[in-house]
Amino acid sequence: KVVHRHRTATDSTRPGNWLDSEWDNPMQFVLACVSYAVGLGNVWRFPYLCQMHGGGGFLIPYMLMLVLLGVPLFYMELAIGQKMRLGSIGAWRAISPYLGGVGMASVVTSMYLCLYYNVINAWSFWYLFHSFQSVLPWAECPVNSNLTGPVEECERATPTQYFFYRETLDISGSIEENGGIHMGQALCLLLAWIIVYLFIVKGVKSTGKVVYFTATFPYLVLIIYLIRGVTLHGAINGVKYMFTPKMEQLAKPTTWINAATQIFFSLGLGFGSLIAFASYNQYNNNFEKQAIVVSMVNSSTSIFASIVTFSIYGFKATFNYESCLERVRLLLLNTFDLAEDTISLENVNHWIAELNRTHPEQFASLGGRLETCDLEAELDTAVEGTGLAFIVYSEAIKNMPVSQLWSVLYFIMLLLLGMGSMLGNVIAVITPLSDLKFISVLSYLVGLVCLFCLLLGLGFTTRSGNYWFTMFNDYGATFSLLFIVLIEVITVCYIYGIKRFEKDVEDMLGHRLNWYWKIMLAGVSPILLIALFIFYIVNYIQGGTPTYQAWNKELGKSVVTEYPPYAQAFIGLLLASSVCCIPLTALYTYCKKRNLASGKRERTVSTVSA
């Protein structure tokens, strides 16, 4: 009986101690992909988009883009990884020597992501550790030095904002004002990187076991939060608000663009993580079914998480609305010296009209102190990103009974989501580097990468660090990814050839490519990607000077500020550095081949002449 592994010309095994690097079973691979794809974006970006683009109606462009763009590209990346059994650099070099730069660009982008993404985990740790107190520190303003009242900055803003901007970040007024490193943040970042090291140091053997936990535990917390969320007072307002479809939003092109980009980034295409994960698969693994499963799980998690988010939103909005009503009620009682039980929360508005009629001069003396309380306005305050996770959610949590427990649960969930995505990011960098055989011992390579990212990441813990973080978040991976995936699709379908790709897939799976995959990959997805790409460029040019939100200490809120010239140059550098890899590598390979060819010709000429 002959034992051999099914091989083709482009197959290769991994060097040295990676020989046994495979997932223990296909379930680990699926869970790793789920853990990577289901990340913070599902919790804080999708609910925001849902709210912005008409609630329930947004699901239509979202699902459409999933089918047209998300699943086929996901399938393609898994196929490449499983076929080539190498990280992104090696895989793309094997597909087409001129386009090995695509892999390089993926690694550069993943590196940027590694640098700033772990800072979010550091913040989650910070909040988690601060939850073990009898009174949550973001629940109340600290008193000032005279003990006469709360700190002014906290008074003008809210306690949760104060805790985030002052105590967590110690943020400066603009990106130009640097400051020292925040020691607490630096310690939390160190912890985050040590944990990442621990999870990856043994390669997929250790990662494979970790993902059982990081992929499943967040769902447990989400379910607990769902039950808690829908039983909160006023939650139904939020859920109703979210699901009321505003169909007119579908007419705007921004809705469709945002749906496409959300699918795109949520699945983590173009970073090289999926290729890296798939490269540890058995050759005949059925990745077709797994691609569909992971994409569906990712999208359903987004919808599920947004139900939780909106019930929390509804609770917070109702709480704020009722607090506002209470304040107005007290103001009326005190100004007009009425008995306490004359005005209740329900008839506040009735009494405002009544008192205005009966005591106009006294009513006028109230002036600006009389607030207007509007539930819709509270619900309309849409927030995304770190603002949602760390400010809005913590504000809602502090008002829940037993808030410490909910706080701990929530931040553990954020940590798991973030860590799961971090694993994918770091593996996307380590796999191609280990294929290049720079350092043979895996634990040294992992340690070096983690140390490097930690040291550079300390820059994000300085006083202006959050502004640099926002810059990386907005520009580091968005545009370059679109370009990378566009080149990927065109390479696979037209340079490598859809026919060859079809044969490879048949080799692995045992059946031919479905017409759905063929049409999507060769036709629909490239067109959609080109459209997205053009839209991004147009939007960027039209947007004028890029701006950011700077925290103003005196006003107690964020103001829109323009980036200084050197920061704009840095943005350009971020975009160019990953995108340039592709043409530069192509040029380099072309020159090398020409030199080789001309060298051969010279030798043949010389032997002939000799």
Binding site: R5, V143, G149, L191, I194, E340
Partner: protein, 220 residues
């Protein structure tokens, strides 16, 4: 006769005089606001004349406690402008001369000193028994020596570092065991590779060398 007329005048005049001393926005008076229903809900007692008398007595006690020498009485605390909110104004007269008012600052000091006792007398708090103009001193923040978050951080990072050390030590031990295994019968490792060990399961059969990874040995 004259004495009797004078006496009558005094009886009529005194309360009128008192009224002049205590009025809305009196320069030496304070406004008090009481929120019974907010504080006590259903257990709220009714605010009536007896409660007002109790307030006078409490204030007199506060004044006595602060000044310690002068004997203040309920008559020295004059109340007026009562509303259904339950709010009213009060002024304090000196025990020696009922026409002289105690200055605002002194009253404030007395109230601040006995604020806790006054609150408790009425089962109220700083928020529900308000002296408008006298702000309660906030509790000083409790600053523990080690911030609690640092303690939790220390525990977690200790556990993680222990995990890493355990992992590295176990891999080191495994490597040493493997090396010892190799020196004892060095052929076993080679044979295992040749015989095509897949996932640790020894498969019987000849390993077809035509398909081994020759790249390692024949590099260009």
């Amino acid at each position: 006769m004259l004495v009797w007329i004078l006496f009558l005048l005094c009886q009529v005049g005194a309360p009128a005089l008192a009224q002049d001393l205590c009025q809305r926005d009196a320069p030496n008076g304070y406004k008090v606001r009481i929120s019974l229903k907010t504080a006590l809900g259903e257990d709220a007692y009714e605010w009536n004349q007896s409660e007002m008398f109790f307030f006078q007595a409490t204030m007199a006690f506060a004044m006595r406690r602060h000044f310690q020498m002068e004997t203040y009485n309920v008559d020295n605390i004059i109340l007026c402008v009562q509303t259904s909110r339950v709010s009213f104004w009060f002024v304090v007269t000196s025990p020696d001369n009922t026409t002289m008012l105690i200055p605002k600052a002194d009253v404030e000091k007395a109230v601040r000193m006995s604020r806790h006792r006054i609150n408790n007398a009425f089962l109220l708090s700083d928020r529900t028994l308000e002296f408008l103009g006298i702000y309660p001193t906030l509790a000083a923040p409790v600053n523990p020596d080690t911030p609690p978050w640092l303690i939790v951080f220390g525990v977690v990072i200790g556990a993680v570092c222990a995990g890493i050390i355990a992992l590295l030590v176990s891999s080191l031990l495994q490597k040493r065991r493997k090396e010892k295994g190799m020196t004892e019968d060095g052929q076993d490792e080679e044979d295992m590779q040749v015989k095509g060990v897949e996932n640790g399961i020894n498969l019987d059969g000849t390993y077809n060398r035509g398909f081994t990874d020759d790249d390692r040995f024949t590099k260009l």
